[in-house]
Symmetry: C2
Subunit: 326 residues, 2 copies
């Protein structure tokens, strides 16, 4: 009879819940992936989380897990790590001040820890991914929005009230494009997938020639960031311009953050990194042009290694960190 211990990590997203059961030494024992069904409201989402965790517990028992060390949850903010409360979720009706840690503790009688999703991704990459063994790093999640996570001396940086590391809301262009946060010129406004789509639409409306119009069958509602990257890979001039510009904006943000944080590595995560070298090259170029010699000469800028699992792996790592195991 084995005495294997398991840890459950839940990456709670607006669209999907990605959960992993892992061993203390980082082996993935089971995975559960299901829709979060946020549009059906708070209770539905909670029941999806419950089911996901229960599924992993069952799977774990099958593969010899004798006990569970705890549950970690990575969630979009704003939230309080110390209080275990998620304050608000724009995508889940009724999701206000949800004491998720208490709820899960009662349901499963296990230690539960909450972490901001991008912080969790940074910790996941630090534990098992591109940041293994590296004490100072920051990570950007490039998706619908831009999230950030900062690791200082091997620990997640939370700030005074757990709401730090909002790296997407650094202004890179004073008086620039409007951002969802209410400010103007944020990195997120320009360089998120949403920003890419907005800038592309604006260019198409100004009659730039591009194969994108064919790809979207002349309907701008069909435009996605992925399509722009696809067109760029096919050599489309407008798309190439947009992607390079996106890399420049990102590089400017990354360069500023290198000056502020002096990290050893910078990790780029999220759906947009599928663009590959075409984007990464520009990010590197402009990060170097916008950072000081002393900070930039030894820093590395790399894509995340854990793909869509970085958040769930980070949720597992959150449990291990808070228990002082790693």
């Amino acid at each position: 009879m084995s005495l294997k211990k398991g840890i459950i990590g839940v990456d709670l997203g607006a669209t999907n819940i990605n959960s992993l059961l892992m061993s203390e030494d980082g082996e993935v024992l089971a995975r559960d992936f299901r829709p979060s069904l946020g549009y059906q409201g708070k209770e539905k989402v909670l029941s999806q989380i419950f089911s996901s965790i229960k599924t992993l517990q069952k799977e774990g028992k099958k593969s010899g897990v004798s006990s569970f060390l705890g549950i970690g949850v990575g969630s979009p903010g704003p939230l309080s790590v110390s209080k275990g409360i998620i304050y608000h979720s724009p995508n889940i009706p009724g999701w206000e001040n949800v004491p998720l840690v208490d709820i899960l503790q009662k349901e499963f009688n296990l230690a539960v820890f909450l972490e901001n999703d991008a912080n969790a991704a940074a910790l996941g990459e630090w534990w098992r991914g591109a940041g293994k063994g590296i004490n100072y790093l920051f990570l950007l999640t490039l998706g619908t929005g831009i999230g950030g996570g900062i690791i200082i001396d091997g620990n997640v940086y939370h700030g005074a009230w757990d709401v730090g590391a909002e790296l997407g809301h650094m202004v890179i262009k004073e008086g620039g494009m409007s951002c969802g946060c209410g400010a103007r010129g944020c990195l997120e406004a320009y360089a998120s997938a949403t920003g890419v789509v907005k800038r592309t639409i604006s260019a198409i409306k100004h009659n730039h020639k591009t194969i994108i119009t064919r790809l979207i069958q002349n309907d701008l509602n069909n435009l996605t960031c992925e399509l722009v990257f696809k067109a760029a890979k096919q050599g489309d001039e407008l798309a190439l311009w947009i992607v390079e510009e996106t890399g420049r904006y990102l590089g400017i943000g990354v360069g500023s953050l290198i000056n502020i944080l002096n990290p050893q590595i910078v990790i780029l995560a999220g759906g947009m990194i599928k663009a590959g070298d075409i984007l990464l090259k520009q990010v590197k170029k402009y990060a170097m042009l916008n950072s000081l010699k002393a900070s930039r000469e030894k820093v590395e800028i790399v894509p995340a290694k854990l793909g869509e699992n970085s958040g769930a792996i980070g949720a597992v790592a959150t449990v291990l960190k808070r228990k002082g195991i790693i």
Copy 2:
């Protein structure tokens, strides 16, 4: 016979050396202020530092100091805190890779600690000034350039290679004004005293009406940031515009840093804060417009309390910190 212990703090500037002798509980026992004479080269500056420290030792003995706990030095970077080396100083010919900690240790046979000047100012304000008792803060020194210091959990944040917290070199306007660092659009390029002068000159050259032309006797070489602030206080429209614009740029930078660092307070230090409310009001306004609700609602933005002594007091605090006394 008293057994009072003294600590010497040296604030090494490009123009002046400001040194303090303090007691462990923060009482200023003596002060020495003299020119650094950087233009006369490295050896001259070292001899000025030696004289300054020796003067304070003599003064200390007179006022009952029986022993010295150590010497702290705050200096412009780039430098290595851990190695005790100042790599370079643009204002002192021959000042390259100076092992200042070793040099002072040999001369005085005391423990010597080196810190970046803006970091020292932040630590000084944390110990005895506007940041007393506050664990998370950052400070901007607004002068010829813009320096930064970050306090996390009551300690100076250094980053991976001691070169973090270069808060003046955050890009706030992509593609904007050239900065001394080689990048474009840095906060320092716009909102330092140098930036204020540049923007004012540009406006005067475009024939904006202003009393400044009279104040500088029609010679743009006479223009200083102080004069612009003086004209603004007299109600000059151009000067007011420039000062308000400066506050906006600073506020945008401060707002971004609030999102990144989630501090409890933000401290503005350096010569430019003499502008007073006219500047501070704008900084606050734009910092609030450019930061997220969760971070901004409890944050305070305040002027430094220690004036021109924050660096020297921070150099003393550096000794006490590294010795584990505070």
